[in-house]
Amino acid sequence: MRRKSRVGLLASTLALVASTCVMGMPAIAGASGQVPLNLDNEQGELWPCAFTPFNGFDAMFSVGTIYETLDFVNALQNSKVTPWLATSYAWSNSNKTLTFTIRSGVKWTDGTPFSAADVAYTFNLLKKYPALDLNAVWSVLSSVKQSGANKVVFNFSTSAVPYFYYVADQVPIVPQHIWSKIKNPVTDPIAKPVGTGGYELSSCTPQNIKWTANPHYWQAGLPVVKTLNMPAFLSNNSANEYLAQGFSAYGAQFIPNIKSYFVAKKAGNGYWFPPVANVSLFPNLKSGPTADVAVREAISYGINRAAISQKGEYGYEPPASQTGVVAPTFKTWSSSSAMALAGNSYNPAKAKSVLVADGYKMGSDGFFSKNGKELDLTVVTNGGYSDWVASMQVVSQELAKVGIKVTVNGAAASNFTTDVLNGNFQLAYDVETGGPSPFYEMRQWLYSKNSAAIGKPAPSNWERFSSPAVDALLNQYGSTTSATAQHTIINKLQTIMVQQLPVIPVLEEVDWFQYNSNEYSGFPSATNPYAQPGLYNVPDWGVVVLHLKPKK
């Protein structure tokens, strides 16, 4: 596992010092005699060493490993709930009250017992500091109170069943006895995080974060892997090379030509890219040709999603469906009637006929026009993602064949985000975050309250879709725990996706995941998808490392 380290000819002057030093280097194996697990997670920057779990970026270094959540909700197994810091939960009061029973016998890593008071404290901290409330749970909560010794009662201002995921799985619980002494929890860096999780922070430098196993972890016997390292990488190249050279057995990388570059390099190397959301074309619904549903329909019929997947993404990201339901992850939610209406069918002839029926006329240059205006669209995408730019170039070629002119504009990342959020685009190629069922992505796409006027940043619903009927469906979903009722609503939403095409899903967003199964067993897989494998998925990757066992 260790990289070769030898001083060469070029450094003859330094050779004396350096060679003695290199020989004197301590062996990398930890005190336990076990080789540490190196995690390969390129984020294009060095690590901040600020372990605030309520920060969108820093969360990936502590949530799941150091700090834990009330439950673990698995997006890959149809929102399956695994009790974690809470042993059970119950909805009451027509789904406006959620009561958690808190686990006993859990200790913070400084030895103080964990209790229901810590849970109530954490949620009220988010109320006091909206800057920490990343999931906006207080947009629906009205109060969080401890009840008795081991219960915490959450009161919602409205029925908020889908918020269970954010409350139970996305909010890390922090210790009251430490956080109540922090002067400003928003801006004070947390250098020594204390949590209940399987790992403790051992050391952090901008180049590497090291975790060691919590010897008093409440899940007896876990974690088996005693030491974790996460080196920082500035470029995808460096991180991919690190993985390909065998320095890491668990990676979360986009790797071009993964079979020859990575899989063939070492026995046991493998990968699995589970789809979790859609990378979609967001048409501007407020202005320009894409406000016309016929144009959106023509685009959806005119793009060969399978070809885009192969040419733009090496086939890593499967073709998406116009219904908006990600398969195979959420296949039980897929509506056969919506699929029958359109699905992800590729039909260039239909694309043309839809435009003709809408009054478009084919010009002599092979492009459609209406009222003297040629159908000429610009699609903005993140110029920093070469795969997205490549995919859009394929889209442009595909649509040219059906008479729609598309220009690809790969903007700088921050300009791109600003344009998308502010509705400053005709077509935008981007991805939503999704959640543990298709509902979450659909709500992000379609709920009118998520949107904003053109020129104002909209957190989601970038295309500016607005339909009272859809809002009512989404609210209705939030008030029921019945699976049948939820499925009926999602079926209706799929039909709307197919008929109105507010968003045009192109490919399925996947979690990037590489492993070496000869060095460790227990990685999640297509047959046992017990957690999302990406090293940026929280709290999921903390759950993954608890499952791993070294093989020698």
């Binding site: 280097m25 060095l46 969108g56 050279q245 921050s414 999704g434 992000q444 998925n537």
Partner: protein, 327 residues
């Protein structure tokens, strides 16, 4: 004394102008840090986080540009640079202090070495004009300096790192080792610095060779050099004490400026070798609209360059009396 006061006055005015530009330019960029953060974490963060981020980063606080300008100047004077938004909530000073030693060590040492070696080679090449050294060195190094940093870097990684396995391919030290003040760790750092340093050295050396050689050729034709020869001084003494010293003068300012720019790091070298330093940090700060970090880094670079030029001016004045009278 008047000369010194004038240079000092220039330094202060340049500093103020730079600080003002430094304040204005980031604010003319489209978007804001919260939107940039949403973009960076796209797909892994609840879209509802936008509000929380805006609150955390203090966006839309409706402070007027003028009042934030004076607050900024005041903070700069007190070296209070605030909190980095990229590495939120780490203080900017901490983020910079983590990266600064690496830039100083790698880029600083290789810049000084490049200047010393390049100048000496250039002097010798001009002294033996038309000799073997003169006909080989300048063209070779000019070709090499035309290579981009990252191309040479990747080539070296592939050849010396992967094929021969002589050097580590990435990082400032073996990333999984805990830093400590031991010989082992220092050796580890040196081992990791050789490839990137060598890349910087051989791409920067060509310029110094060429300018020094050209300066020398003019100086060698001067009467006082002939005089020295006529007096029968040792060639070595004429080369370094008479000709070299004078030929060096025009290069001093260039050297001072490149020393100043050491602070700005070497973005491509850092990127290719995954080396911690200020260059990539600056790029990151700009991409993520991290105003506090950007401002502190630009200020640092400006101060370093201005101070280096100031020192070079003084040094030139000391070495060459003519500059004092003409100014």
């Amino acid at each position: 004394m008047r000369f010194l006061a004038r240079r000092l006055g220039f330094l202060l005015i340049a500093l103020w102008a730079a600080m003002t530009v430094n304040f204005l330019i980031p604010r003319l960029m489209p978007g804001n840090p919260a939107e940039a953060m949403m973009g960076r974490l796209r797909g892994h963060i609840n879209p509802a986080s936008l509000k929380a981020l805006e609150v955390a980063f203090g966006i839309n606080t409706h402070q007027s540009l003028i009042s934030s300008y004076f607050q900024y100047l005041n903070n700069c004077v007190h070296l209070n640079f605030g909190i980095s938004l990229l590495d939120f909530p780490e203080p900017v000073s901490h983020v910079i202090s983590q990266a600064l030693p690496w830039s100083l060590g790698l880029v600083g040492v290789s810049t000084i070495l490049g200047f010393l070696i390049g100048t000496m080679l250039g002097a010798v090449a001009a002294w033996r004009r038309g000799g073997a050294l003169d006909s080989v060195l300048p063209p070779v190094f000019i070709v090499i300096s035309a290579f981009p940093y990252f191309f040479l870097g990747l080539l070296f990684i592939w050849f010396f790192g992967l094929t021969l396995g002589w050097f580590p391919i990435l990082g400032g030290y073996t990333e999984t080792v805990t830093p400590s003040l031991t010989f082992g760790f220092i050796g580890n750092i040196l081992d990791h610095s050789i490839l990137p340093a060598f890349t910087i050295l051989i791409t920067s050396i060509g310029g110094w060779i060429l300018t020094m050689r050209n300066n020398m050729i003019t100086v060698v034709a001067e009467d006082y050099v002939k005089m020295g020869r006529a007096k029968g001084l040792k060639p070595r003494r004429i080369l370094w004490q008479y000709a070299g010293r004078n030929a060096l003068l025009p290069n001093l300012t260039g050297f001072a400026m490149s020393l100043g720019f050491v602070i700005s790091g070497a973005i491509l070298v850092e990127y290719v070798f995954n080396y911690p330093g200020l260059g990539f940090l600056l790029l990151q700060a700009v991409e993520n609209e991290d105003y506090p970090l950007m401002q502190a880094l630009f200020l640092l670079i400006t101060v370093a360059v201005l101070v280096a030029i100031f020192i070079a001016d003084i040094a030139t004045a000391l070495l060459d009396p003519r500059t004092r009278t003409t100014s």
